[in-house]
Symmetry: C2
Subunit: 131 residues, 2 copies
């Protein structure tokens, strides 16, 4: 993967990766990878992320089992971001929705509306601990 | 839009926005907005970005005319990124492709393959100057 690493532009050691459903193309989430997360993703075939809030590399879905199996890796024109086409188990969002973008913003009323159905109960999966 | 601004988490003054085709859901590009770019996007209905390489707010497609008309604004579970559903004029990528993610990475050969067709000739649109 040396050619890939040479082509990518990491900023402060990280590169954003847009994750989409390999079958439907639906946008699921946006995550960040450092070089180690990218290596682990390629080695295992499962998305690994650098979780900025915890400062470490983790497999996506490590707690919930809602893993993402990589079907295709794409990169943008500048090499400044990745697009991962994945097979998503159950749901991408820790709040229970298939996609993290489950809220629509209404500029008129300056308010939000949830437009997606829950895929699972977060309390059951995470035991009411952190999301 | 004060409620939106309160909900969003800007990092170093910026928030990433994933741009997808409103009709097909296809991932087009990833851009960055500061508060001013977001205000201009809402005011005009056209995507405005903070171009990090130039350090200023610009309308997307300002040179090429390949503007993005906003049809829907979504935000993720943490308020740390946006998803913009847009009507894309001609093509999103300054290299002539509909999407910026026109390259697929092949881990086996550690090489890239272009999988999309050109939507326009960049030399004609940008006059061979910058992309």
């Amino acid at each position: 993967m040396e050619n890939l690493l040479k082509t990518l532009q990491f900023r402060s050691g990280l590169i954003p990766a847009v994750v989409v459903d390999a079958q439907t193309g639906e946008l699921l989430t946006l995550c960040y990878m450092d070089e180690e997360a990218l290596r682990e993703t390629l080695r295992t075939g499962q998305v690994h992320v650098f979780r900025r809030s915890q400062g470490r590399v983790m497999p996506k879905g490590g707690t919930s089992g809602h893993v993402q199996l990589v079907r295709e890796i794409r990169l943008d024109c500048e090499g400044s971001s990745l697009a991962l086409h994945v097979e998503q188990k159950v749901a991408a969002c820790h709040k229970g929705y298939r996609t993290c973008y489950f809220r629509r913003y209404d500029p008129q009323s300056d308010s939000f509306e949830i437009t997606c159905e829950m895929g699972f109960d977060p309390d059951e999966v995470y035991g009411g601990a952190n999301g």
